[in-house]
C-alpha cells in the first residue's frame, strides 16, 4: 500500500480554531474550572491531523466544540470560513465511548446517519452494508450492540460516521479499545479511506506511535489548562513498509515523548527536529 501525502502542499484552512477557551462552572459553586485556554490551530483541507495530550487536557472537549455539540466560552471555531453554530452532517464524530443505539442492530445503527440525511431506504441499506463490510463486520448486520465485542462496536461506530460521508471526520481515540492487530488493520483502512476520499481528519489518540503513523501533523496539547504546545510535521512521505522500524520514526517518537512528559511544562527546544510551533 502506498499513500502519498501530496495534500501537504494544500494550504486552504478547513477548520480554524481561534483563541478558543472553555470554562466549566464548578458544581459546588467554587471558582470556574478552566479546561482549555487560548487554543489556536488551523486544520488544512484534506489534512490528517492527530492530536495528543495528557489525559484531561481537553482533547474531547475541543473535538465536541468542532462538532458543534458545545460552544467555546470565548474564541471562535470556523469551518470553511463559517463560524460553527451547531452540529451538522458535514462533520462526523466517533466518540471515545462507542455511542451506538442499543435497540438498533449494527446495520440500522449505520443507517441512522443516512436517515438523518434523508437517503432513500433501499440505498440506505446498501450503503450501510457496504460500510459494515469495509470495517470487516459483514455477517454481523443483525446483531445488537450488546451482542458485539467492544472492538466490533467501535468499528460499527466508525462505519456509521463514514457512511453519511462527512467532509470532516472527528475521531476521539477510536482504536483505544482494540487489540493490536485489529488496530493496525483499521489504521491502514482509515488511511486508505482518507486517501481515497480526501476527508479532513482530526484524530485524538493517546498513542504516540499511532499519532506519528497516522498523522501528517501531530498537534501536542499541554496539561490543564489545555493549550496547543506545538505541532510537529511528520517527515514520512509514504506508509510503505514497516514505518515503525524506521530510525527517524524513533527520533520523532522520542521527541513527542519528551514533550508529553509531565515535567515538560512549556514548549521545549526542538533539537535537530523540525518543530513548528503554532504561533511561529
Amino acid at each position: 500500500m502506498t499513500i502519498t501525502l501530496d495534500s501537504r502542499t494544500a494550504t486552504r484552512t478547513k477548520i480554524g480554531i481561534r483563541e478558543v477557551s472553555r470554562v466549566f462552572d464548578s458544581p459546588d459553586g467554587g471558582p470556574p474550572f478552566v479546561a482549555m485556554d487560548g487554543v489556536t490551530l488551523d486544520v488544512r483541507e484534506g489534512e490528517f491531523l492527530t492530536l495528543v495530550g495528557p489525559s484531561g487536557c481537553g482533547k474531547s472537549t475541543l473535538l465536541e466544540m468542532i462538532a458543534g455539540l458545545t460552544s467555546p466560552s470565548s474564541g471562535e471555531i470556523v469551518i470553511d470560513g463559517t463560524p460553527v453554530t451547531g452540529p451538522g452532517l458535514d462533520r462526523g464524530i466517533v466518540f471515545q465511548q462507542y455511542a451506538l443505539f442499543p435497540w438498533r442492530t449494527a446495520l440500522s445503527n449505520i443507517e441512522f446517519g443516512l436517515e438523518a440525511k434523508a437517503v432513500p431506504r433501499r440505498e440506505r441499506a446498501e450503503l450501510a452494508r457496504h460500510y459494515l463490510d469495509l470495517v470487516g463486520l459483514s455477517g454481523f448486520e443483525h446483531r445488537h450492540p450488546h451482542e458485539l465485542s467492544g472492538g466490533m462496536r467501535q468499528r460499527v461506530a466508525i462505519a456509521r460516521s463514514l457512511a453519511f460521508d462527512p467532509d470532516v471526520l472527528l475521531m476521539d481515540e477510536p482504536f483505544a479499545a482494540l487489540d493490536a492487530q485489529t488496530r493496525e488493520s483499521l489504521q491502514e483502512e482509515l488511511l486508505t479511506i482518507w486517501e481515497k476520499t480526501g476527508k479532513t481528519v482530526v484524530f485524538i489518540t493517546h498513542g504516540i506511535d499511532e499519532a506519528l503513523y497516522l498523522g501528517q501533523r501531530v498537534a501536542v496539547m499541554s496539561s490543564r489548562p489545555g493549550r496547543i504546545l506545538t505541532t510537529v510535521e511528520t517527515p514520512f512521505d509514504s506508509r510503505e513498509g514497516d514505518l515503525r522500524a524506521d530510525p527517524t520514526f524513533g527520533e520523532y517518537r522520542h521527541h513527542l515523548w519528551t514533550l508529553l512528559r509531565p515535567e515538560t511544562a512549556g514548549p521545549t527546544g526542538s533539537g535537530r527536529l523540525r518543530v513548528v510551533t503554532h504561533d511561529g
Binding site: G88, L89, I93, A99, F101, W103, F112, A116, H146
Partner: protein, 297 residues
C-alpha cells in the same frame, strides 16, 4: 438493571399498599423470579429445562400436598382451612354454576378499564413531563406528595365523589395504576444515556426527531417496568375496593363467602385471584421482553 428497577418499583408498591397488599406484592415478586429463571433455561438444553420445570413445580406439588394433608391430619382446623380438594370442588361448582365467571368478568373488566386508561393517559403525560425540564421541576414536589399518598387512603374520597358504582372502582384502579406508569415514564425519559443524545445531535437531529428516534426507544424498557407494576397494582387495589363495597367481583365473592361462612368458596375466590394475577404478570412480562430484547440483562 431491569431487575434493580423492578426492585425499586416493588418498594413503591409496598409503601402504597396496606399490610395485606404488601403481602400480596411479595407473592408477585416470587412470580417475577420464576419468569426470569424460565427465560434463562430456555437457552439450555431441553432436558435441563424439563428438569427445571419439574423442580419448580415440585414446590407447588409440595404446597398442595401439605394443603391437603395438614387439614386431614388435624394439624390445622379443617373448618378454617379445608383441604385443597374441597376447595377445588367448590371452585368447580362455582364455575359450573356460572357465578365464578360472572365475578371474574366483573373484576377483569374493572381492572382492565382502569389499567388501560392509566396507560393511555399516564404514558403521554409522563413523556411530556420527562421531556420538558421546567414542567418536571415544577411538578416534582406534587408528584412526590401524591406518590407517597396511599391510593387506598383515597378510596373513601373516590366513593364520596363517584358513588359506590362502577365509576369509583375504575377511577380508583386508574389512579393507582397511573403512578407507577407516570413515574417510570418520567424517569425513563430523563435517564436516557446523555452520550446517545449527544451522538444523535451530532448527526443533526432536531428536538422532535431526537425525541422520536432516541428518547422514546431508549425509554421503552423503563416504561414497561412501570406498566408491569401497574398491572399488578390494578388487581391488588381492585380487590380491596370490591371488598369494601360491591355487588360483584372476586373481592366481593371472597368477602361474601367469608361472611356467609362458605369457607371453601372463599378459598376458591382466592385461588382464582392469584391465578389471575399470575397470568397478568406473565403476559406483561412476555410483552416487556418482546419490546426490550436489546436490553442487556
Amino acid at each position: 438493571m431491569a431487575d434493580l428497577r423492578i426492585g425499586a418499583g416493588q418498594r413503591t408498591a409496598g409503601r402504597t399498599g396496606t399490610g395485606t397488599l404488601a403481602v400480596i406484592t411479595s407473592e408477585r415478586t416470587a412470580g417475577t423470579t420464576t419468569g426470569t429463571s424460565f427465560r434463562k433455561s430456555a437457552g439450555r438444553s431441553l432436558q435441563k429445562a424439563a428438569g427445571k420445570a419439574l423442580r419448580n413445580s415440585a414446590a407447588i406439588v409440595l404446597l398442595l400436598g401439605l394443603w391437603e394433608a395438614l387439614p386431614r391430619l388435624g394439624v390445622v382446623d379443617r373448618v378454617f382451612v379445608p383441604p385443597i380438594s374441597t376447595d377445588l370442588a367448590a371452585w368447580w361448582d362455582l364455575l359450573v354454576s356460572g357465578r365464578l365467571t360472572e365475578h371474574f368478568q366483573a373484576s377483569l373488566l374493572r381492572s382492565l378499564a382502569g389499567f388501560g386508561l392509566a396507560i393511555v393517559l399516564a404514558v403521554p403525560l409522563g413523556l411530556l413531563i420527562g421531556w420538558y425540564r421546567p414542567l418536571n421541576d415544577f411538578l416534582t414536589p406534587v408528584l412526590e406528595l401524591f406518590r407517597n399518598t396511599s391510593a387506598v387512603a383515597l378510596l373513601p374520597v373516590f366513593i364520596l365523589i363517584f358513588g359506590l358504582g362502577e365509576t369509583s372502582k375504575v377511577v380508583f384502579v386508574f389512579y393507582a395504576c397511573s403512578w407507577p406508569i407516570l413515574l417510570n415514564t418520567i424517569s425513563g425519559v430523563r435517564t436516557v444515556e446523555p452520550l446517545l443524545i449527544k451522538s444523535a445531535r451530532s448527526l443533526g437531529l432536531g428536538p422532535i426527531r431526537l425525541f422520536r428516534k432516541v428518547v422514546l426507544p431508549a425509554a421503552v424498557p423503563t416504561i414497561f417496568t412501570g406498566v408491569r407494576l401497574a398491572g399488578a397494582h390494578s388487581i391488588l387495589v381492585l380487590l380491596f375496593a370490591e371488598m369494601v363495597g360491591a355487588r360483584a367481583g372476586l373481592g366481593y365473592l371472597i368477602n361474601d363467602a367469608q361472611a356467609g361462612f362458605r369457607i371453601p368458596d372463599m378459598y376458591a375466590g382466592i385461588i382464582t385471584i392469584s391465578l389471575l394475577g399470575l397470568l397478568f404478570n406473565l403476559l406483561l412480562l412476555a410483552l416487556q421482553r418482546r419490546f426490550s430484547t436489546w436490553r442487556v440483562s
